[in-house]
């Protein structure tokens, strides 16, 4: 096994990705009138604190029961909830703002698939001009204190302020999750 043998390199999405990637609106993972619908929104900032209007975010998440609509999630008795595929995509607007409508995912198994569990979270990819490869982060939820404390991925980040950048703040009807690409308040990003 040779690590990294032969993969195709990543290149930036550039500034004109809307053309190929945002022809459909994928920002609503569930219908607006879904009984558990929440709004997750925020703003993308660069290292100078300026908003990033040419960014795009993608979400990947489990359903409210913690099940992924994917063959790798073949746990018995756990059919994914009908409706959402768990995938979302939204381009930032001129103010660097994005907004998704979804449901809060359930807890999912932790590393190794054994007894450990992860707090409810959403995997996020960030694409933009100036990003030669995607950035990966996670949305956790501020009203899941207990689960967040026990979460193995959050626990792997020692600096509490850095860890806190992954936790979306609850507000009426949803959560706020800002993304700081660089600088003092930089969001924690993952090597996936």
């Amino acid at each position: 096994m040779k690590p990294g043998s032969g993969s195709t390199p990543s290149q930036t999405v550039g500034p004109f990705f809307h053309l190929g990637l945002l022809r459909e609106d994928w920002s609503r993972l569930v219908k607006l009138d879904h009984p558990s619908a929440i709004r997750i929104h925020g703003t993308v900032y660069d290292g100078a604190g300026e908003v990033v209007p040419d960014a795009m975010l993608e979400l990947w998440q489990a359903d409210a029961n913690g099940h992924y609509a994917h063959p790798e999630d073949d746990r018995e008795g756990s059919p994914p909830e009908d409706g959402s595929t768990g995938f979302g995509r939204c381009g930032a607007d001129d103010a660097g703002h994005f907004e998704f409508v979804t449901v809060k995912p359930g807890s999912v198994p932790g590393p190794g698939g054994g007894e450990s569990w992860q707090a409810p979270h959403i995997n996020v990819s960030v694409f933009a001009r100036g990003l030669l490869k995607r950035l990966v982060t996670r949305v956790y939820f501020s009203d899941e204190d207990e689960a967040n404390t026990a979460d193995p991925v959050l626990a792997s980040i020692e600096d509490p302020d850095f860890r806190a950048t992954l936790v979306a703040r609850a507000e009426d009807g949803g959560y706020i999750f800002d993304v700081h690409l660089q600088g003092e308040n930089q969001t924690a990003f993952f090597d996936v």
Binding site: F16, G113, L132, F189
Partner: protein, 242 residues
């Protein structure tokens, strides 16, 4: 297909391939300076959240979505080309039934995008966006026109080599890839910081398509081959090495 699936949760997930990838900060590419993260990345173990990923339905891809020359009343101007190849994982296995999205400038080097200020003509018969699913052998095929090079403001007299943007999902969140395909022998390669941001010359070469006479359709269109390799799996569990 299902029986060939490896139980990834029991393995070490997908291999990291940082040697093939560009850095976040590449100062010659101006826009990376304020957008590249400064703090080290946090290593994310591959849990079910990374080993799963969006599955795109066949029903959503139209039969002509792969043909960028047939989206309008008339035909676009430019050199008609076929771009075809296979999507493979790092172990040489085909990535099947997987969505590819593509977008590009027109033959004059202009994107049909309100943000593109390059004073080259728009083509009313060309939008420059397509998509398709790979087949059971990982094969895909687009019909389009060869995009033009275009200037950009990165540095004095900066020009992007002609390229087509590709977006791929592969089987999992961990395999997501957005890249660009270039054309062989482009004299702009050595002047382009986005292309040069990949430091390994062999990896860089994997971004360049190959002129392929066998993909050419006589009297109609030239052909280029472009294989895309996504990450491979760790075949064995990562524990028990101590």
């Amino acid at each position: 297909m299902r029986e060939e699936r490896i139980s990834l949760s029991q393995s070490g997930g997908y291999r990291r391939d940082s040697e093939s990838q560009p850095p976040y900060l590449y100062p010659e590419y101006e826009s990376t300076r304020l957008r590249a993260p400064g703090r080290p990345l946090v290593i994310l173990p591959h849990t079910l959240s990374e080993l799963t990923g969006p599955v795109y339905g066949h029903e959503k891809v139209g039969t002509l979505d792969h043909d960028l020359t047939r989206q309008h009343v008339g035909e676009p101007l430019g050199e008609r080309i076929i771009v075809t190849g296979r999507v493979l994982d790092g172990d040489g296995r085909p990535v099947r039934n997987s969505l590819i999205e593509a977008w590009q400038a027109n033959a004059a080097g202009r994107y049909a995008h309100h943000g593109d200020r390059h004073p080259a003509p728009l083509d009313p018969n060309f939008t420059g966006a397509g998509r398709c699913l790979t087949d059971s052998e990982g094969r895909y095929r687009f019909v389009t026109v060869k995009p033009g090079a275009y200037p950009w403001g990165n540095h004095d007299n900066a020009w992007r080599p002609a390229h087509i943007h590709f977006s791929l999902f592969g089987p999992a969140f961990a395999t997501r890839l957005v890249t660009q395909m270039y054309f062989p022998g482009d004299p702009l390669f050595e002047h382009d910081p986005i292309f040069q941001s990949v430091s390994d010359p062999k990896a860089r070469q994997r971004l360049v398509s190959r002129f392929d006479l066998s993909a050419t359709e006589p009297e109609w269109a030239l052909g280029y081959s472009f294989d895309i390799v996504l990450r491979g799996c760790n075949a064995t569990p990562v524990e028990n090495h101590g």
